[in-house]
Symmetry: D2
Subunit: 358 residues, 4 copies
Amino acid sequence: MNTFGTFFKLTTFGESHGPTIGGIIDGCPAGLKLDLDAIQLELNRRKPGQSAITTQRKEADEVKFLSGIFEGKTTGAPIGFQIENSDQKSKDYSHLKENFRPSHADFTYQKKYGTRDYRGGGRASARETASWVVAGAIAKQLLPEIKITAFTRSIGGISLKKDYPETSGLDFSEIEQNPVRCPDAEMALEMEKYIKQIRKEGDTVGGIVQCVVQNMPIGLGEPIFNKLHAQLGKAMLSINAVKGFEYGSGFSGTKMKGSEHNDLLETSGKTKTNFSGGIQGGISNGMDIYFNVAFKPVATIMQNQETIDRKGKQVEIAGKGRHDPCVVPRAIPIVEAMTALTLADFWLLHQIQNRNNK
Amino acid sequence: MNTFGTFFKLTTFGESHGPTIGGIIDGCPAGLKLDLDAIQLELNRRKPGQSAITTQRKEADEVKFLSGIFEGKTTGAPIGFQIENSDQKSKDYSHLKENFRPSHADFTYQKKYGTRDYRGGGRASARETASWVVAGAIAKQLLPEIKITAFTRSIGGISLKKDYPETSGLDFSEIEQNPVRCPDAEMALEMEKYIKQIRKEGDTVGGIVQCVVQNMPIGLGEPIFNKLHAQLGKAMLSINAVKGFEYGSGFSGTKMKGSEHNDLLETSGKTKTNFSGGIQGGISNGMDIYFNVAFKPVATIMQNQETIDRKGKQVEIAGKGRHDPCVVPRAIPIVEAMTALTLADFWLLHQIQNRNNK
Amino acid sequence: MNTFGTFFKLTTFGESHGPTIGGIIDGCPAGLKLDLDAIQLELNRRKPGQSAITTQRKEADEVKFLSGIFEGKTTGAPIGFQIENSDQKSKDYSHLKENFRPSHADFTYQKKYGTRDYRGGGRASARETASWVVAGAIAKQLLPEIKITAFTRSIGGISLKKDYPETSGLDFSEIEQNPVRCPDAEMALEMEKYIKQIRKEGDTVGGIVQCVVQNMPIGLGEPIFNKLHAQLGKAMLSINAVKGFEYGSGFSGTKMKGSEHNDLLETSGKTKTNFSGGIQGGISNGMDIYFNVAFKPVATIMQNQETIDRKGKQVEIAGKGRHDPCVVPRAIPIVEAMTALTLADFWLLHQIQNRNNK
Amino acid sequence: MNTFGTFFKLTTFGESHGPTIGGIIDGCPAGLKLDLDAIQLELNRRKPGQSAITTQRKEADEVKFLSGIFEGKTTGAPIGFQIENSDQKSKDYSHLKENFRPSHADFTYQKKYGTRDYRGGGRASARETASWVVAGAIAKQLLPEIKITAFTRSIGGISLKKDYPETSGLDFSEIEQNPVRCPDAEMALEMEKYIKQIRKEGDTVGGIVQCVVQNMPIGLGEPIFNKLHAQLGKAMLSINAVKGFEYGSGFSGTKMKGSEHNDLLETSGKTKTNFSGGIQGGISNGMDIYFNVAFKPVATIMQNQETIDRKGKQVEIAGKGRHDPCVVPRAIPIVEAMTALTLADFWLLHQIQNRNNK
């Protein structure tokens, strides 16, 4: 169950403090010329230590490809890759051996498997997502015409005043200009300040990421169990710390009437409004796809908390090491990567679903 | 892609106006004594025409089992079943042949497949979910100790004042006592009135379903791509008209600090709070699971709407036939069924994941 | 585990003496015009009671399609179908309740599942293969350019004198002209006589089916675990009573030297010889595919045999009812159907494996 | 399609002359104490250069585990591993860039993918099977009670005089005492001589491997499409150079009558004979499983052969480098590994198929 996708498949392995993490991408078509720099660039966006508001842990995070690429192109063979864990300070985590950190996976792993690699969270560490970013970057290159843009919509209670469709009109080139990855420079400053304050308190905070997919082809997605939004939802809910997903009108759509919510069709095939979020009956209709992803506050805080040890005894525990006060800025490239993986999977399937498409 | 689940698998077929819908359940263990009445009861909860606020379309909705059951018990062979489409008024839908209804799947099916069975929505009809309810009812019987309860939390802007954990203390026996399926009798009346008024306007309205899972075993769910909440999210987003999913603290958790949000562990292994929604690191921790599911207003309204026909010409269209003004009350058993299917799948997998569990 | 295929998927259900058997075909592309008569024709070739050397059991064996076809074409939705079990003489099999027939699946089903539907073999009956023939007939129509021909190569010790490539030059139109389905009319007579004699003895006999696939496209099959011949082998070994599979030079190739066995390439891209059986590295090379399938003698004989009952007590048992003295003639359409299903699966996959194929 | 298994899953990557080959094992239960030396031992049995009758190519073939093992035990997380390609003499293969070797995968890879990594056969090299041996060795440790023994039954026309059940009585400890891996020391000498002579001629030869599985539990295997023997057949046909598979009575069983072939049940639940090969209705019956695997002669010979280059021009080609004159001796551990993987997969599934097994 460490595989994502059915046609464009990513299978991963690795723990936070093992020698390496990595994966195998199976199903990438042959003949795709890969821009390796672009892949590394995505990894750098996810990397720890990239700004003043992320963890100061250092990882080179350089991906090494082991197979499936020959003379710069994919060969149709599986693409094996790995990323070394260069900065393993195992000592920092020795206190985790006996104790279950609150709202972490320590307790559930121990109960499920009867054992766990406790160093740095082991398999449960968000370090795993580096492999997703590698695969997602390749998926993006498979679908160059589709434009996937994620950005920070809110940090704690501080939120963009605009929502889609206004957000789609924001200056997306601003996103990488600030450490929060918010397309509104002013809001970004406010958010950054807030994160710094939270960190000073030894605390953490959550936020919402919005993702907008432009230039979508029509017809991606399955009608019943693998609806496009259901797979996107699954993809997003796979990301560490995610608590919710909504697309199109989402939760606010529950308060609307049908006469307000329906997207009327124009002769161009486009719709006047886009409460459907670019998906109808589980299938893309060519309009922008947009969705929100809710991230909870990071569980590791620099304050004392009550918890129990493996024997059930009450103990106190406090975060050590270097942690993010807020995962949202580093989650942006992960949201994009998982979106790209989802779309690549459906795009491949779509090629063989209609005999008359040939 | 018409299969849900990996171990306890449901594969379905059928269109709204074909001779029958149905499915095959593969992977149900042998030796399970089935209560067939309980299965039919779940179907009746989903059935059209059951109350004054649902569509008046009549379907007998009787499930007929074709295989896999012998002398009242499952044999380990696949369970084939079907439900006849008894009340097919194909004439009502003849106007759908040429036109694309707004916010329906007509346009996307036609573009994806180059054709579609337009009668009553064909494969896109929510009639499909009757098969899910059958399979979910069997999944429930496989896991009798787990208690899954869904109910209406809001209709349009009218919402229960309470949220989890208070909602878990509501009188769940009240749910089936009112046509809205709300555990608060007073709110239920208000919601019912509102739905009736909306129907008079020829309009429709959305709402939110909450689901609470009690008596959960520890250890269900996968750590990486098949996190328990990711699969629940996918399951819910597979239901027609769903626009969003959140579990535990959900979207409101994004505004909390880690120090507020963390669920401190007690010596019993339980947590003081349950913002995690019973799931940590993708794996159940034994606390209640709870989540919200957002339903949009039904797309078919009894008012004139602008749209286009298959040739792209602008036309006007209005709903005909008998439709639900609000899907939420009938969605309750579907939410429960998809929850049960998801849990059964993980429960089977869990049996083989730990050598020392034997 | 009642599903065959990954892209063109068949999932089946049903027992020999239940109300119906059937299945769901998922993944058939939209827009395929179906010749329903051709499907029924394949079913008739498999049907019991078709000649003097098959069982006299009567089954109408009419397939009824329930979904996925609209106005004569596939819609991309799953194709549900069923075949009624019209001639269920359950009484004939009542003696099977307590006893395990030798070389049947009675013992293993009982031990594995703790129960079994003993009527007529239940799920283990070869009646199941009628559903395969339906799906295979649709697969054949998806790939009209590929010509799949199976025929009887031997019955007991009576064998065609010719082997491939000579067999590919036989008059295949002769196959359906005799009840044995052997392309050599003279040999067919001899085989028929032998089967009749065996039946008189209350005994049964095995045989070998050869299958030749002509007009194969290049490139079908996967290099590693889903080699084209590995999937064909799995498909054939799924057929009841099959004990062996060999393709190309097969077992006799083990005695050859490389210098004899290698197929030298000509400038046309064809090879001078075809010991490879049309597959190299798991992938079709455009030459004919040919393979042999070994069928054991039917286990049900009309003679007394020692066996045990469910309590382990020694008992005597003899076949009752109407059974085939030799399955080979009726197995011909099943071999073709499973070949077609295998090729359809790979053909769909192949469409998306090479970016430059577009 | 680079994954084998459904529950105990192996996914592999790597080319003969890339930096490394390797894989990910997903689904191995937690809490399994691993004997790493035993795994390396299996690899050594497959290693090139181990005797005078195998290729003199040297590979250290040391497996390095990257994840999923902690304090000597499996954790339930995926087990990543790799084996470095230490002895890449890429120059030896430069002549392969332009030419298609007869009866190799060069032509089919090029046509399917439009490109290929031609160095040493790339992905098509049997070096891939080293990864299978690693995974198979772990599967063996998961099922310590089952005894899997493969051995050389014939080399070219030189064959063991005995067949099963006599072969099961041979001294299996002899197998590793001779370079041919034949349990009959005298025959082994004869086979060895023959292989040496063939090598002198610059030629190659095939042979047959027999595998016997003892101490089988009852109930492994699926009744319909994943019959135990169908999966074993698929597993064997996945091995490079395999042309055929038969189990139990196999092809010779086609000449028997039912009255001779049927395995009569004794009160112990065992059968008097074992023509069924330990499998009835696709499910193990507790008797020994035995099967034969046919290997063709190695395609690379040290003689001149006619072939074509990528442009279709006729050219001559001769083998260079160091190759096996016969793959059979080194195939023995691969046959065992693939058998173990197949059984492990079914064994896990079997744990959850019968509610009353608990």
